[in-house]
């Protein structure tokens, strides 16, 4: 089991020695049971750090923010930032390294193993508790969670309340670290692409119907894009500011700029937005599942990404986010790559 004290001691050491600028970690939220991201800048604050089954967030998202801040500073502090990562999150760092968005020296990676389980799915838990409110959730000794409500403590098996992403996880131990907490447990995943298997059996009409209904719900808050550490483009087709303007830009040029999609949350625009998002994550999505968790209307966004992950695996034998030395899927060509789609 990962002990809070060990992670805190490591964080304290890092901050006291000045080896890192600050540490991106998890703290307990105001509701008293769920984790939130926290930025620890002083050694005396390390006791805020926690680790548990509500540490959903992929904190690598804030490594992207740090890079953005740094490029705007005149004399940036070039020390690394410390960042707590789960297995899936660590694969996001691999992608950022592959794509040369960050350098290895920019991050001090504090890995935590999810050991036998992973994070919970809040909606699954709420359904299970039927109106009772959770007060605390902890890892159980086995493949289970210990959930405390006002009515006492219950033991719930991981298969019932764990997030889908964790049920299909192929990297529960971080793949790149400077320090690792927790055991390198062995785990078998019988159905790594289980979440897409059902929909794959449907006819194209039924699939269209399914996605039309799901994407109809979208309110275009862009939480799925914003929470994703892989969505780091400075310009995005979803925003209206995809056009560099200088004092010489004429009114005509501004008026003529291409508007890729309308702001209206209608099915054509919603589908376009979600297709762009999904396709841009092909061979890059590391299945941290944050897009799906963040979605306020519960669109199964992970399914889109998972399908593309499966294509990358089946067509190119490509495993996403394991080896920073390997070229990115989209930017390499090998003689053995399939070409049967060219007709």
């Amino acid at each position: 089991m990962v002990k809070h004290e060990d992670v805190r001691a490591e964080a304290k050491k890092l901050l006291e020695s000045g080896k890192v600028k600050y540490i991106i970690a998890y703290e307990l939220g105001a509701d008293g049971w769920k984790a939130n991201p926290v930025f620890i800048k002083k050694p005396e604050d390390v006791d805020k750090i926690i680790w548990g089954p509500t540490c959903f967030h992929n904190l690598v998202r804030f490594v992207v923010d740090e890079k953005r801040r740094k490029v705007q500073q005149k004399n940036p502090d070039t020390r690394p930032v410390g960042v707590m990562v789960k297995g899936c999150d660590s694969r996001a760092i691999v992608i950022l390294l592959q794509e040369k968005f960050i350098e290895r020296k920019d991050v001090h990676i504090i890995g935590v193993s999810c050991e036998k389980t992973g994070v919970i799915d809040e909606r699954k838990l709420a359904n299970k508790l039927k109106g009772r409110k959770a007060k605390n959730v902890e890892f159980g000794p086995d493949e289970n969670f210990v959930v405390t409500t006002e009515e006492g403590t219950v033991d719930l098996p991981a298969s019932e309340i764990m997030a889908d992403r964790c049920l299909e996880c192929i990297a529960h131990v971080p793949v790149i670290t400077d320090v690792l907490f927790g055991e390198k447990t062995k785990r078998t995943v019988p159905h790594p692409f289980g979440s897409v298997e059902k929909i794959e059996t449907l006819s194209s009409e039924d699939r269209w119907k399914f996605w039309s209904e799901q994407l109809e719900k979208c309110v275009r808050c862009y939480a799925c894009r914003s929470v994703c550490p892989m969505c780091y483009c400075d310009e995005c087709v979803a925003d209206t500011i995809t056009f560099a303007v200088s004092p010489d830009t004429t009114a005509e040029e501004k008026a003529q700029k291409i508007k890729w999609l309308d702001k209206s949350p209608v099915i054509s625009e919603n589908i376009f937005y979600h297709m762009v998002r999904a396709i841009h994550l092909a061979g890059r999505c590391i299945d941290c599942g944050e897009c799906e968790r963040a979605c306020p209307v519960n669109i199964p966004l992970r399914m889109l990404n998972k399908k593309l992950e499966k294509e990358a695996k089946l067509l190119f034998g490509y495993d996403v986010g394991f080896d920073p030395e390997k070229p990115a899927l989209i930017s390499c060509f090998r003689d053995e790559d399939p070409e049967d789609f060219i007709r």
């Binding site: 799901q214 808050c221 914003s226 500011i241």
Partner: protein, 346 residues
């Protein structure tokens, strides 16, 4: 006179409302939202909180202003597309949402009234449901001039008494709506009134969260505009639109022309929700952005709700529903932020 409605008769009331578009909370893919009720029997008011507030019915995320079409001459044909104002009833509205609509009324009303908003607003009947216990763990209505059984903005207030509802008629619109139900409503008796009052009084003691002593916050915020406080508080913000799109009082919008044909040039002018949390919200056509980062945007959200709105309308533009806290993917907590402002050494 207050009424009593047996729960088993509730579907009959809905069935009698054929002339109305009836919205009620419905659970779709594990998320509650106000949706058109196709089957009156399937409507249950036993629900916690919707993700999207009832504002979406009076202030839809997308609406049309007018359509345009290039004519043969050097001219355009324009046609106004005012909403028809079909009678609409929304069931299960929480007190914080009813109050929120009254705040939005202020913004779209006054000297230059927004016809598009008022067409829908005037046609909408809000049937409230008192919160016997807080629908969310982040409810704090009592701290921002509200209460779990407030009647503000509502036309009818229902209180769940177990196997019946205590029904208070608050406006003429509400009176008409109840009269549609006819004989299924009975006169309430003094013990019923007592029972409802007890539920109301008890509900005030059940809120888990509060935001105390914020009287000086508006003045405090004024002095904190340039404070590095906002950089620290916004560190974990991911710049999405959840806190504002799903806020019952946020009402900012964008206007665009949606072109549907190039020759002849034709399309519609459309209003959609917009949010101060998106970078392009304040982007000037020069390329300058006066609110350049997420610190400035978090500051705007807090300042609007707890300073600017108070200065203009003498009320907080927050009704304590807690959605922005519950649904924020990174746990940014408006209560915590405002408490820190309150306690900030100026």
């Amino acid at each position: 006179m207050d009424k009593i409605l047996a729960k088993k008769d509730f579907p009959r009331w809905l069935e009698a409302l054929g002339a109305y578009d009836v919205y009620a909370p419905q659970l779709i893919d594990d998320v509650w939202n106000y949706e058109l009720a196709a089957d009156p029997k399937a409507v249950s008011l036993d629900y916690p909180q919707t993700a999207i507030p009832a504002k979406k019915i009076v202030f839809p995320q997308r609406e049309f202003f007018f359509e345009f079409r290039e004519a043969d001459t050097d001219d355009y044909k324009l046609k106004e597309l005012l909403p028809e104002g079909k009678p609409t009833v929304i069931f299960g509205v929480r007190a914080c949402e009813g109050k929120a609509v009254t705040l939005t009324d202020l913004v779209f009303g006054g000297e230059i009234a927004d016809d598009y908003y008022w067409k829908r607003r005037n046609a909408a009947v809000l049937v409230g449901l008192a919160c016997a216990s807080p629908p969310s763990t982040n409810c704090f209505c009592l701290s921002v001039n509200g209460s779990p059984h407030s009647k503000e903005g509502l036309d009818v207030l229902m209180t769940d008494l177990g196997d019946q509802y205590y029904v208070e008629i608050l406006t003429d619109k509400g009176k008409k709506l109840v009269s549609e139900g006819g004989a299924i409503f009975h006169e309430a008796k003094p013990p019923d009134k007592k029972a409802a009052e007890k539920i109301h009084a008890d509900s005030e003691k059940k809120l888990a969260r509060e935001l105390k002593n914020i009287k000086d916050v508006p003045a405090k915020l004024k002095g904190m505009f340039a404070s590095p406080f906002w950089d620290d508080e916004s560190m974990s913000c991911i710049r999405c639109g959840i806190c504002t799109y799903l806020c019952p009082t946020c009402h900012c919008f964008d206007i665009n022309d949606e072109v549907e044909s190039q020759t002849p040039l034709a399309g519609r002018r459309v209003r959609t929700w917009d949010t101060c949390q998106f970078p392009d919200f304040t982007m000037h056509s020069s390329g300058h952005n006066p609110r350049p980062d997420k610190a400035a945007r978090l500051r705007q959200r807090i300042n609007h709700k707890f300073q600017y709105f108070v200065e203009v309308w003498q009320n907080y533009q927050c009704t304590g529903c807690g959605r922005c806290i519950t649904l924020c993917p990174v746990g940014i907590d408006i209560i915590k932020v405002v408490e820190k402002v309150r306690d900030h050494a100026s």
